[in-house]
């Protein structure tokens, strides 16, 4: 049985480590914020200029000057800090953020990511996605394994315009988890299967070429 959205987020949360500074994208990645293990310290960055994102505010306590990158009202925490967009992306581009978990439209077997535009449709813009994938130490992409028509979103080559070339370290889909050796040209390796998902099933639903970790074959 494939992972649910919640289970996919829980799998992504296993990439968190104590002391990490993390940037979470919109959608399933946002759910990871509530899955930090007890006793582990993780600091969330919002690329519009906040380190230390707190929970959503109580009604009546919202502050128009305090939003996240998804334009939602949020709160800060004791120990938070605010900074400009230039300083924020200095942090990101300079490799100071340990981990970013992002959604994707397509990922290729060499770690290319497409998640910002579909030709012919109105382009909303890439916002901070291109900077995050270029700068953050480890990039985890969370997405459905297949599109609505059953086509593989994990591909030999992305068909959509890229957000970044050779940027994805780990791909988590509803069917399994792939490690991508984006720097070493070692390609992709399936390292986990969702419970009840067979190797044959994931192979049949994947266009990308991948190795299979020992123990899964």
């Amino acid at each position: 049985m494939p992972w649910t959205r919640e289970q996919t987020a829980e799998r992504a949360a296993k990439e968190l480590e104590d002391g990490f500074y993390v940037n979470l994208g919109i959608g399933i990645p946002t759910m990871v914020a509530n899955m930090v293990p007890k006793g582990m310290k993780v600091t969330l960055q919002s690329e519009n200029g906040l380190l230390g994102i707190g929970p959503f505010p109580y009604e009546g306590e919202i502050d128009a000057d305090l939003i996240n990158a998804g334009k939602q009202t949020i709160t800060d925490l004791p120990g938070s800090s605010y900074f400009s967009s230039a300083d924020s992306f200095g942090m990101i581009r300079g490799g100071h953020i340990n981990l970013s978990i992002l959604g994707g439209m397509e990922v290729s077997q060499n770690g290319d990511l497409a998640n910002w535009m579909v030709p012919g449709k109105m382009i909303k813009g890439m916002g901070g996605a291109m900077d995050l994938v270029a700068g953050v130490r480890k990039i985890v992409v969370v997405m459905d394994h297949c599109d609505k028509t059953g086509g593989s979103k994990f591909r030999k080559e992305c068909t959509l315009p890229l957000t970044g070339k050779g940027v994805v370290d780990l791909l988590i889909t509803d069917l399994g988890v792939f490690e991508i050796d984006r720097r070493g040209n070692g390609g992709s390796t399936l390292i986990e299967l969702a419970p009840g998902v067979s190797l044959d099933e994931i192979k049949s639903k994947t266009e990308a070429e991948f190795k299979v970790a020992p123990g899964l074959a």
Binding site: S46, D65, S85, A86, F89
Partner: protein, 241 residues
């Protein structure tokens, strides 16, 4: 000794606008937007503007009004969502949009203000954003070789920023995430106007805590106090006692 303080946004605009000019405005979504100054830009009726900002307003708010008044020929931004007039104008080729990665846009404005005509960034390498731009390989601090894209600095004929507090020198302090693009945009303007929620006396701001030194601010207006809009008000339930 001339004063930097002007009575109104309209007064602060006097003599500054012309057709074809480049205007940069602070804000991220509806947060930290100099709304009175943007309306004064609309009232100026200057045409064929190039507008630089993270976004150019969104439906019924901010720079959207200037767009709706058909004053803008080109926008340089990172996000064009939630803006139907912009989408329509773009899809029918009535407006040019130059999409920038958000961090690249922020850095281009900082560079423009800091006299850096060009810099290299890994952001966008191998994507459409790099098409037609110079690329080059550098080695990072960990010894990894990577390809980088050359991006250029951005300046504006007029910069419009929103701050929380100003003193009469033009020193500015921003509040929370309303800071966003405002500091770099303040530095990138040939002329910069700041709209602020409070004007305090000289000496009332802690000199260690000033975000934008007064040298970057030419004119100051007190905000008329329009309500701040929120795109996605999000709250949580109070836990049971």
């Amino acid at each position: 000794m001339s004063s930097k303080i002007f009575k109104s946004a309209e007064a602060a605009f006097e003599g500054l606008t012309f057709d074809g000019m480049t205007v940069a405005a602070g804000g991220f979504g509806l947060c930290g937007v100099p709304v009175d100054l943007v309306m004064a830009l609309k009232q100026s009726n200057a045409k064929n503007l190039t507008v630089i900002g993270n976004n150019v307003g969104c439906d019924n708010h901010g720079m959207w009004h200037v767009l709706a008044n058909d004053q803008i020929g080109k926008v340089i931004l990172s996000y064009a969502g939630e803006n139907k007039i912009l989408a329509d104008a773009f899809m029918s080729n009535r407006i040019e949009i130059e999409f920038n990665p958000q961090g690249t846009l922020a850095e281009r404005l900082r560079a423009g203000g800091a006299g850096i005509p060009a810099f290299f960034t890994r952001t966008g390498y191998g994507t459409r954003i790099a098409e037609g731009k110079e690329t080059r390989e550098f080695t990072d601090r960990d010894g990894n070789k990577d390809w980088y894209v050359m991006e250029t600095g951005l300046t504006a004929d007029l910069s419009l920023v929103k701050a929380w507090k100003a003193d009469k020198e033009g020193n500015l302090i921003y509040r929370k995430t309303a800071r966003n693009f405002n500091p770099m945009i303040a530095s990138a303007g040939k002329v910069t106007i700041a709209e602020v929620e409070e004007i305090v006396e000289i000496g009332d701001l802690d000199p260690d805590s000033v975000h934008t030194p007064g040298i970057f601010v030419d004119r100051i207006v007190l905000s008329t106090g329009q309500p701040k809009h929120i795109e996605r008000p999000t709250t949580r339930e109070k836990e049971a006692a």
